[in-house]
Symmetry: C2
């Protein structure tokens, strides 16, 4: 019997871990609650109708078609019994393991305001993306049919909360749609009169990037027509808009389309697992891990990706927290698989070291910021060259040859025509 490895979640971390175990003498089962691996960095393009869902979602099964020792199961893990070494699925079925890699990821967090979720969807899954696409496109449709100028203005006011990479990309693309894609298609409204408001509690956009790039991103966003409101907090969200509070005091924003990009937290499975192992999850619900990504007292369990409160270990330097980005998840996936194989062969595991190759974000047509770490020091640039770099980097990392080709074709088409081909709303009922 080969050792049985269970991997929970097939995002960037789980997928890399399973791939890294390829060809080893282990029996791998991957369980995910979706049937597809999602290329999340481009999810905002599905939400804004630039890409179709299958362009960025690959069936997990087909990714492991040639790996006979990998079994794929569709199911949602509710909790883990670390004593019996079993993961219990939502429908009651239990999956036994000898070695466990938990890569179940993060979800959007409303920080105690869970009732906001209905009015301001976040962007983590394809369903989320379809819901945002629906609200965005139907707002323009409703405005075309609205005679009252006040209601019409409310319908053409869009709010994105949170100016991290997702919020910035969403706001920039929304502005592009209103200014470049839709004009000429409506007879009664001028879509260029639409307002895109980007709300950020902090003092700058893209807070994880160097300050100079944040400044550049802000200039580019404003050039696209995005109304950026820094130092602004949201105190209430309802079906008709939200209450905000900025440097000028509290005020109201009426809007039919509010998107939440302000926070993520680990999935609930993190807290359950931490408690079961007598560990204390961090504020975001992430599980503290050992330097080799295993859990204290449970060397057979490793936690990676957005679910792990992990540190990067460079000899001679103090450990630094690993950021919640996809390259980090992929590196942790490979490191966890390598440590698992080391342990199986009786060798010592190694501490995880995160290699930061840089950071990039796009802001719409021709606009992006790039911050790369190179052996010669940081390389930072923005604008058109950054946008080209961003485009090729994302297409390069897309899963599957066909997806890359189709996404490039879609973008070439969108670039020349300003058209966004996925402007399809299949279900008009509100969620």
């Amino acid at each position: 019997m080969q050792p049985r490895v269970l991997i929970i979640g097939c995002g960037f971390g789980g997928l890399e871990a399973a791939r890294a175990l390829q060809g080893s003498s282990v029996d791998v089962t991957v369980v995910d609650r979706n049937n597809h691996h999602l290329f999340q960095p481009l999810l905002y393009q599905v939400a804004t109708a630039g890409l179709s869902a299958p362009s960025i979602a690959a069936p997990i099964r087909s990714l492991f078609r040639r790996q006979g020792q990998v079994t794929i199961l569709l199911g949602e893990v509710l909790d883990i019994d670390v004593t019996r070494r079993q993961a219990r699925l939502k429908d009651g079925q239990c999956l036994s393991y000898e070695h466990l890699i938990v890569a179940a990821g993060a979800t959007h967090a409303y920080f105690g305001h869970e009732d906001w979720a209905a009015h301001a969807p976040g962007l983590k899954t394809l369903s989320d993306a379809f819901e945002i696409r629906r609200r965005l496109l139907l707002a323009f449709e409703a405005a075309e049919r609205e005679d009252d100028p006040q209601r019409r203005a409310d319908l053409l006011r869009f709010v994105v909360i949170g100016a991290g990479p997702t919020g910035v990309e969403l706001a920039g693309t929304m502005a592009e749609i209103a200014r470049h894609t839709l004009p000429g298609e409506f007879r009664r409204i001028d879509t260029r009169s639409a307002k895109i408001i980007l709300i950020e509690g902090g003092e700058r956009v893209l807070a994880s990037m160097p300050s100079a790039l944040s400044q550049s991103a802000q200039r580019q966003l404003q050039a696209l027509g995005v109304d950026l409101r820094l130092h602004t907090r949201v105190s209430a969200i309802d079906a008709r808009g939200l209450d905000a509070s900025g440097p000028e005091g509290p005020y109201r924003i009426d809007s039919s389309c509010v998107v939440w990009a302000a926070g993520v937290a680990a999935v609930p499975l993190g807290r359950q697992l931490a408690q079961a192992c007598a560990l204390v999850p961090d504020r975001a619900g992430r599980v503290p891990v050992q330097p080799d990504l295993s859990l204290a007292g449970h060397p057979e369990i490793q936690v990676i990706g957005d679910l792990a409160a992990a540190h990067s270990h460079v000899p001679g330097q103090p450990p630094t927290p690993v950021p919640g980005v996809s390259p980090a998840a992929k590196q942790m996936g490979r490191a966890a698989a390598a440590n698992l194989l080391r342990r199986l062969s009786g060798r010592a595991t190694r501490a995880f070291r995160y290699r930061d190759f840089g950071n990039l974000a796009t802001l719409g047509r021709h606009s992006a910021v790039v911050d790369l770490g190179t052996p010669l020091g940081p390389l930072r640039f923005s604008g058109y060259p950054a946008w080209l770099f961003w485009l090729f980097a994302h297409v390069y990392f897309l899963i599957g040859f066909r997806n890359r080709l189709v996404v490039l074709l879609d973008w070439a088409w969108a670039y020349w025509t300003h058209e966004r081909h996925a402007r399809v709303v299949s279900d008009l009922r509100p969620r």
Copy 2:
């Protein structure tokens, strides 16, 4: 003021009518309950994960981008007040018209068994296609996790009811998926053991085609592994399967995925409009029209496409019923627009004449039947050449250059790899 023309529905008929009015001195409003024109002949490919939704759905607005006199409104028409010349939308708004073209189409009909709809979805809209895709793919996923052989066999039994073009295409493609796409991706089940049952009440498949082609289609379906049951009727459908009755008597089929392709009827708007005009709708709820496609006593109203009980008029021959196929809807759309312009300029309208260029259906990889009318008599062929003809005909008629390119690329990819790229289920909850 230009004459105001209202077109209800932007399927093949409504789209052609609006296009044919292009450049005329009329003010056209198109109202549709969806934001996209759907290329229905390829909808079964979305349901069976071969194409993504945006590949066969074009935003209606973008189709009329360069036609400044066409206004597009998203809305569902509930009824028509023929005295006031107003169409009332679901949300209460009324649209006035001077000339009306009604092209609201058909929906699936359960002939008094509306409760079957929940257990056996039909295939008319993108939502329907997503629902069928969900049931089809999740049945294989559930089977991979099922230990009981009986339950597993039930999960791998798929039923299509009705062997018209849609039913035949669905059954053939399902068999292809089970035999060619999925083997090698599952570890516990052999997807080739899946059973695809095609139920037909009549004595042959594709009853609208010549008998020799039906025979050929039946042989091709059986070669694909489809279990064809002719002379068989369905008496009950529930969540776990259906009760059927064939030449061998009544029996039960347990199945987790039943698709309804057995009947269509005009949308309810047909009956309302017929009653308002003191006309008697036919059994399928279609509105009887004059030879020029207008309504008796209401020359300002024309009904076209699947909503019309229309006849083809060839001088010296008795009128023949127009079939409910997309070329007929397109021809009626052009004819209605031409007659409207004739009437506006005081000329006499013309009787509609349907030109039947033939009939074709595909049955899976390399299999199709074609029946063409040519000046030299009928041209009928099947198998691989028919499949190639079918493929290019469908790509040629697809709306929009980009869609054609992407669909060709998708098919070339699927052809070489047997992969179906749209195997994405975004929402796992049952509808």
